[in-house]
Every structure is written in C-alpha cells, then in structure tokens.
C-alpha cells in the first residue's frame, strides 16, 4: 500500500516540471517539496557558508531550510509553494542571488 492508495486519492493527470533541467512528474495539489520527494529528490539547496546540501526539515514553513529557486525566483519555501505545470525548479546556491 502506498500513501495515495491509502488515502484513496484520484488526482488529475500528472504534469511535467523540470528540476535542474531534468524532467520530473508532479501531481496537481502537491507542493514543490512533495513533487521533488515523489521524484526521489530530497535536497535542492546549498548553504551560503559551507555549501552544504539541504532540503525539507520542518515541512510546515517554519525553518526555511527548504528554500529553492522556482522560475528564476530564489528563496521560495518549497514546502509551502504549490507546483505548477511547466515550473522550472533549480537548486538554490547560497543566497540565491550569487549569479
């Protein structure tokens, strides 16, 4: 049993977004973080200091560890932002403004 079967979910058709240029599938209603998790991606940020990888930590918008660049806009909290068809999601380096 997986989570979708357990919940009896019948989402609309999956759509495509890109993560660092690679195509991945996403479902309507998911956040950017949920779509990335479903694709097996758990980190999408490098810290400003040591350049260490980070992803979701709190899952509810409190910790700011999950910051990501979506369609060129950095510092979006992946655990809050809904994913939309065609989104270009990119690993965020540092402050997201480093070029």
């Amino acid at each position: 049993m997986n989570a979708k079967e357990l919940a009896g979910a019948r989402p609309g058709p999956a759509f495509t977004v890109t993560f660092d240029g690679r195509e991945i599938d996403a479902l309507p209603g998911q956040t950017v973080a949920a779509a990335l998790w479903a694709a097996g991606v758990i980190s999408w940020r490098r810290t400003r200091g040591a350049g260490r990888p980070r992803g979701v930590f709190c899952g509810i918008g409190v910790c700011f560890d999950c910051l990501v660049t979506v369609n060129g806009r950095p510092n979006q909290r992946a655990c809050l932002v809904p994913v939309r068809p065609g989104d270009a999601i990119r690993t965020q380096e540092g402050t997201g403004h480093d070029g």
Partner: protein
Amino acid sequence: MADRPRLAVIGAGPAGLAAALAAAASGVRVTLVDSAPQAGGQFYRQPAAGLAARRSQAPHHHRRTWRRLRTGLDRQLAAGGVTHLADHHVWCVERHTDGFTVHALLGPAQEDGVTVDADAVVLATGGYEKVLPFPGWTLPGVVTAGGAQAMLKGGLVLPGRTVVVAGTGPLLLPVATGLAAAGARVAALVESADPKTLARHARVLSALPAKLAEGAGHAARLLRHRVPVLVGHVVVEAHGGERLDAVTVAALDAGGRVRPGTRRRIACGTLAVGHGMLPHTDLAATLGCRLDGVAVRVDDEQRTDVPGVWAAGEATGVGGADLALAEGHIAGRSAAARLTGRRSEARTWAAARSRAALRAFSAALDAVYAPPAHWAERITGDTLVCRCEEVPASAVRAAVGELGAGDVRTVKLLTRAGMGWCQGRMCAPAVAALAGCPPTPAGTPFARPVPLDVLAGQGPDARTGPPLDAPDGKDSHDD
C-alpha cells in the same frame, strides 16, 4: 447583521476551529484567518484538494470529530457566521483604541498585504516541533517527525523507503505508524524516555480511557507493521555525505548518558526526529501578552492578560488535539459572551472539565517524555547549532565560556546564532542549553518575514488610528 461584534480567530487547527464555531453559534461574526490552503491545522491536515483523496488517515474517533468540525464550519460558512481566509499569513496583530487590526500576507509568495478589523482576537496559532541538535542533523533526509507527517498527510509522499523515527514524545507513535501504513519500512522507533514510567500517573490515566485506548491502538499498529521499538535509546549521530545513509543509536543509562558498548548502526534514508513541541508566540508577544515560560499565559477562560485577546491550543502550552479543541471551545464561548455582554459562567461548561483532565494528562506526558538529562553533552564542536547561519556548537561554547555570554541574546550578538531566516525558532532550545539558561521563546519582531513595501504601506498614515507601537505604553516584546 453589520453591527454584530466581530471576532478574528487566527489559526484554523483544532483550537481555532472550535473557537470559531463556538463564537459563531453565540451570534458573533467570525473571521477565521489561516496560513494553510485548507482548514484543519497540523492534526487534521487534509490531502491537498488537487489530490482528490477520499479517505482520511486519522484513527476512527478523530475522523468523527473532524467530520463534525467540517460540517459545522460548512454550515457557518454558508450562513455567513464564519468567513474563512485561507492562505493568509498573519505577520502582526495591532491593538488600537477601538479594536484590533490583523495584518496578513497573501498566498505562498506572501508579497501582498491585507488587513482585517475585529473587536476581539483569539490566537490559535499552534506550535512547531522542537529538534535538539546532534551530529549529522543537517543532512538531507533528516526531517522533523511532524514534518514527515505533514508531507505525508498533505502531499501523500514519503521521504524515503527506509525510515528511523526517533527522539521523544507521544507524536513519534502516530508518525511511525502513519509512515509504515503508507508503505515505508520503519527500521526502528527510537524513544529516549521510558514510557513505562507513565504507569506512575495511573490516576490521571484512568480519568481518560479514550487516551489509553488511543495509546493501545498505536502499540498494536506498531506490532502489526513489525516496527522494532527501542526505548531508553537515542540517535547519537546521523551519517552520510550528500544525504543520510545511516544513523548510530545507543542505549542510555539511568542518568541519561550513553552506555558504553551499546552503539549500533542502522541503515536508513530518512530520520524523522522530534523532541516535543514549542508554541508559536510571536503574535501574542507583539500584542504584549504575558508569557509563562515559552507559552502564552491564559486564565480559566483562555484570556491573555491583554484585554480583548484570547489564546487557545498549543500556543498556550502543548497538549495535543483534544486539549486544543477544549481550549478553543472555551475561548470562543468566553469571547462571544464578552462581546455580546452576556455572563460567561465558564466553570459550568463541560469543556472546562475535559480541559482539566487533559491538562493533567499532558503534564504527566511532559514528565515522562523529557529529553535525556545530558543530551547537550553529545553535541560535538562541529555540529551546527544554528542551521540558518551555520553556527557550530564550538562557536556558541566559546561565546559562553571565553566571552562570558550567559543568555540567548548575547550568544546571538556574538555568534549570529538565531539571526537567520527562522529567527531562532530552530536553535533557541539548544543555544539556551549550551548557555546554561532557561529556554525563552525565540523573539521575533514579526511572525512572518514582511516585504518592505507592505511594511511601508502599514505606517501611521496608512490607516486612521494610532501607529504600530504597542498600546498603553506597554513594551511589546523583549527582543
């Protein structure tokens, strides 16, 4: 209709929903303001609407309660008793001579502002999970237990196939069983406390048979999913390069130190970890409400010490969804009684009796599920304490030892711990422990980061009434 009193309820979790429904039933017009796209809060978090799920994962009696709340809310929405503002992130509640203005930012982007006027306010903002640092806790794959639960309930996704659930507290049980039911292999549930000591609180437990049944249900599900349970154990380290690949667990002795020779490694892609909850108190603090330790102080009717402001649920102390419901109900009724000029007679309400029993129960849980005495000794020098500003424990220890910092604020000024995006919400307990001072709430000027143009639009000229400063010369918060 238009001159019915107006109550703003902030937070649509169990506490806020109960407050909104109780107040609306007494003839008060309620605006329910919540940052999530759907009502329910953490406990009744529903799968995102787009996922079209037909079943909730909640155990039976919680499903019934949720249906009752949902139906009540739908009726009030249709009748105009309650307005639900979803996707509204409140960054400040302002008190002025003739009421309150709630300032919110819209949607996930949180760039546009909106205000709501009200005669009184119920703060039902819940809490967030506390995680105490340990080596490796910043690796991708290490998530809060509640966060794993939130992603599962809301997005129907799992962080990985093999999970270890660890830390302390009653939340670990539903998280472990929830992940297992959704197809994860839960390699271990690692609890640092010894839940058997709960038996010492027999009198409190026997007053709440439903709670005992709930605990037994979780235990049965752990067995059914063959989840190995290690009590009196901790995760001492999380391992991995780019992502988590294993954890080391060890047994604790009676004093809370690791027993030599008990370390062992468990392979896993996910560690869901939590050490209890911390209340969200920033809105209360900016209003000038007094805090008790880290929670908002309230009286028998859930009133804060600022007139017109009530608080309920985890914001006033952590005790679970049932307690949040009881407190919310009391807050809503009490606020409605004051606003409509009726007597409240709070002592006679059934919710007041269940609140007393549930508070006693959560005090018993608190006593059992305290983090082990010597946890801070296990933070190595290079373990990051402040995740946002990447401040290692060695820097905090140097600020305390060599530079004499004795409180969280001085450590912050010397090391930047707590100055980052999360404003100390994640690191405050660890910094306090390393500085040897009692935990204080992470003091934030605003409950949310606020874009400058929104702030500029909210100055003294933006509306009639006094400026942003706290009323009555009260200094709003200590940060």
